[in-house]
Symmetry: C2
Subunit: 593 residues, 2 copies
């Protein structure tokens, strides 16, 4: 069935149910970043394959709202279809569109299993004056999508103490203690990463994140784990029994929630809890809305995790060093393409111990492709790395002992003055944030400008945040904290010792090249003075920074010292694992400025 | 009547009215920073003379809540009375205290004329579960306070175009245009500074701010100005008539508001509108809550105002230069005290053309007194400036052509290493913020860390904001914008070209000394690039920065260049107005580092 036939079918169903507007989001019941194919409704329906979007369908209109990074991709992929790609910079958001284009008293429907409470509330609030009726329990897709992929069924496995450093029973006790303080009888957890962390398990349901799709309801005595039981190996049974962890069918989550006592109280996060689950909460039950108790605990890495992250960084740095060494040795010998380099890098990383897979889709962007912050090479765009230019490589790995994410930008051939200037200004940002010292209580929005200052002073900027939280063998984007100009909740979260965050300022010259230099930085305690406890960052990622792109006249003494000392560290930590040829090369790459 | 007798009287009245808790704020009906003596109820009742506080009275308890800067003063002034000074750092805020100490179903009362809507809402919300009853129209003071000072009755005067640069009719049109866009039939203005700006008038009702106490109700055709008519000179009548500005008695504000059509809409700011005026709004009338339309317009200084500010800065800098010159010439000849230096500085400033008075109570703090950010010298504290030490001088003037606010810290005798280090770190903050470049849309909380960075890196910090907005011949603290770590609304306000803000990092060494270096900085357009419009600051204040306190090894090249260039500017602009002796001295003070 082609895109048009699907639309005809869908509109037939809409008409039968008296629905004027049907809304389809790009999310799944866990409302996270990556979704299994089963929930890629928008791609199946429209052909648009980007990770974020909302589709609006009426009897005369079909539109796809995306965000700014997908503008070009959406209009290409939707060309020739009945779907219009809506440029978010030019048009209204989809709620305003509905408000302006749909008549009052009409019915708006969506599948509340994949729509957050927060989003449905926003919808109701913004359309309040229009007297629409809403149906938040409307799945029109399942009947039409006949060859729909199954939900994933990977096997769960124990994430050993050796890696995660802390017993699940301890974590559960700590969560229950917080629940008690918050007067919550239940904590509903809808995010699989929180569940994996709490129970010390991992899986393979979601690409790039080692998760088992699941919900959990933590009570005072029991933990109900809603997941496909066949995913759990028998040897986990005894331990789960001991801790009163009961596995129940994934589909029964809402049903069980609806059976809870209305005299009890439940804690949940409205941003990642579906409207469907929310509606299941018995009326009268006391609701406490906040981020999950697990989210903050998980973000603060324990000592064992930190020691493991250090090991993972060495492995990852070795793979990356080998990669860049290989590129330099072979660039003049054969034609290297972006696609090929992606594969080469993945292969080198996959040789590492405890490697589970890449932590996100690698970005290898040459020249103008580097200027697209979320560039993914396809057979249509695949460029050969020829002539002078700038190569941006952003990649990471999932290891049992940590999650990595690192970006390096290197010169191919001879860089221009402008490229060296841009690169050095970005590098100043990476370094200046890494060198920050700040008092306890500081939030990400207070530090953001350190990464931007040198760019701003030169009329440059970048349109994304400066740093995202990073999980431990979990999501590569994992809050609650982030560093940015103060828009989202993440940047308003206090940075605490043990939190791992990226540090990735950039400059994008549209149609020319992109430069981004990204390290992961760990927040650590520094000294305590009469003015309070102070914190600092330790740079964890290990890979040389291309000196041929540096204009040293733009760096101040402290920045030069930082870079030299970082390069000493990189060489000392990686060289034991390199061949003598690689070592000699790295020695040169990391020699003092 | 002594403090105890007053309390007896008050409790009698409370008992008669069945009131369990009576709340007295330190504010007046305009809810601004400075209040006339008529509204200094707390000082009259308790003896505590600080500018911020809240008194709670029950039949067994009488407490004064202040903020951290008044802890010591409050406990001194309340010693021996029945009033307890509550240390805000150790105890709960007054609302939590009420919640914890008062029984349910009891009556809480306050005078809603001097309590903002926002505060009463907070009170109702936080005490919601306690089933208290509230009386927000309860004035128990007027009957007891027999010798209460009258409301002030200064004369209003025309603030000439020569100074303010823009005709009142133009300003009124612009406000009405915004009202139309906001669909507001009325704009209620409760802040006299907004009214002064809009109508190009000034007065002398409030110490430190040239205001006429007034409310205004701007309609589509008329402006109702609620103020004592006798304050307005006859020659304003024709102009007011022409613009349909009608003066009505100050006391009739609530009555007139209550007579507005319920079918119309009114715009007001809940933070500075009293509960009493809010209650007067007819039920059913459409309410738009936001900052006043005038507040943002007023904050963006026009070209004439900016040109005038430059002139005011020269005059002010000349007075300050003469002051420091005089101090240096006389420090070894006679005993100088803090009190005397305050007077000396006020006298030198008062010689300036268009001077109306100081813009706030001058701070002259020697050594440990400088460590109190809001130190006011009294006959008990008055120190002689003897021996080695650090002298902090924070002062400002109100001129017809601008408002100034400047802090300089100078060495008396030979400074210590630690003093020089602290001073230089503070100076780096002042300079780094002054040198900032940033894109359009940047808010104050994004820039705050520039002023703190060097301090934080050395385990230092200061407990107040970095910069407050400054009025034009109006309030020395005047938003909406501010620069700080992101607590208040001010730091979330976009900085726009034309806004004048202070830049005042500091270090306070309790019991030793305080260092603060403050300039006013004007936000200006910088270049426009493909990344958008960029902005920068121009430092407006003109006075040398004491080089004997600088440890040059802590400054980077850019900071040294900034300081040298600033000193060239200071000398060039001030020297034409100085004697040859003063000139020679300033030449030396401003010579290149």
């Amino acid at each position: 069935m082609g895109s048009e036939a699907k639309l005809v079918e869908l509109r037939k169903l809409m008409k039968n149910s008296g629905i004027a507007i049907y809304i389809i989001p790009s999310t799944d019941p866990h409302l996270g970043e990556n979704v299994p194919d089963h929930w890629r409704i928008i791609e199946w329906l429209t052909g648009f394959s980007g990770s974020a979007g909302t589709v609006i369908i009426t009897d005369t209109f079909a539109g796809v709202w995306t965000d700014s990074r997908y503008i070009i991709q959406a209009s290409n992929q939707l060309k020739g279809s009945e779907f219009t790609a809506i440029n978010p910079l030019e048009k209204k958001d989809y709620i305003s569109w509905i408000s302006a284009n749909v008549h009052a008293n009409e019915k708006i429907a969506l599948d509340g299993r994949i729509f957050s409470i927060e989003q449905t509330r926003k919808l109701e609030k913004l359309l309040d004056n229009k007297h629409f009726s809403f149906d938040f329990n409307c799945d029109l897709i399942s009947d039409i999508w006949t060859e729909r992929p199954d939900l994933p069924h990977s096997l769960a496995f124990n994430h050993e103490i050796l890696y995660c450093g802390r017993d699940r029973s301890e974590k559960i006790s700590e969560v229950r203690k917080i629940m008690k303080d918050r007067r919550a009888d239940y904590q509903l957890i809808t995010s699989p990463d929180d569940i994996m962390w709490l129970l010390n398990i991992r899986g393979g349901d979601i690409r790039y994140s080692p998760l088992v799709l699941s919900f959990a309801l933590i009570g005072v005595e029991q933990i109900l784990l809603f997941a496909d039981e066949s995913k759990f190996p028998l040897r986990m049974a005894a331990e789960f029994d001991r801790l009163a962890i009961v596995i129940l069918p994934y589909e029964e989550t809402a049903g069980i929630i609806s059976s809870l006592s209305a005299a009890s109280s439940i804690l949940f996060n409205p941003v990642i809890t579906s409207s469907n689950l929310y509606q299941a909460i018995p009326s009268g039950m006391n609701r406490v809305e906040d981020i999950n108790t697990t989210t903050r605990l998980k973000a603060i890495k324990n000592e064992a995790e930190i020691a493991n992250i250090r090991k993972a960084m060495i492995k990852d740095g070795v793979a990356l060093t080998r990669f860049f060494f290989w590129v330099e040795q072979n660039i003049d010998k054969e034609i290297l393409t972006e696609f090929f380099l992606c594969e080469k890098l993945n292969t080198l990383r996959s040789l590492n111990e405890n490697f589970l897979g890449p932590s996100f889709e690698s970005i290898v962007g040459f020249n103008e492709h580097g200027a697209l912050p979320h560039y993914t090479v396809t057979s249509e765009t695949n460029s050969a790395i020829l002539g002078n230019g700038i190569l941006l490589v952003d990649s990471g790995g999932q290891y049992l002992d940590g999650t990595t994410d690192i970006t390096r930008t290197i010169a191919i051939g001879t860089p221009t003055e402008k490229q060296r200037r841009d690169y050095t200004l970005v590098l100043k940002g990476t370094i200046d944030l890494a060198m920050a010292g700040f008092p306890s209580g500081t939030k990400g929005f207070q530090l953001d400008m350190l990464a931007r200052r040198s760019l701003w002073e030169n009329g440059l900027n970048y349109g994304h945040g400066t740093g995202h939280g990073v999980g431990f063998c979990l999501n590569v984007h994992e809050g609650p904290q982030s560093i940015g100009p103060g828009f989202g909740q993440g940047t308003k979260t206090i940075l605490e010792a043990g939190m791992l965050t990226s540090d990735e300022p950039a400059v994008y010259r549209e149609g020319e090249y992109g430069i981004r230099i990204e390290n992961l930085i760990l927040c650590c305690l520094d000294n305590e003075t009469q003015y309070g406890q102070f914190l600092k960052f330790e740079t964890m990622s290990l890979c040389y920074i291309d000196k041929t792109l540096i204009d040293i006249s733009l760096l101040d003494r402290k920045e030069i010292d930082w870079l030299n000392s970082y390069h000493v560290d990189v060489y000392e930590k990686l060289s034991p694992f390199l061949t003598s040829e690689e070592n000699e090369w790295l020695k040169h790459k990391t020699s003092a400025l």
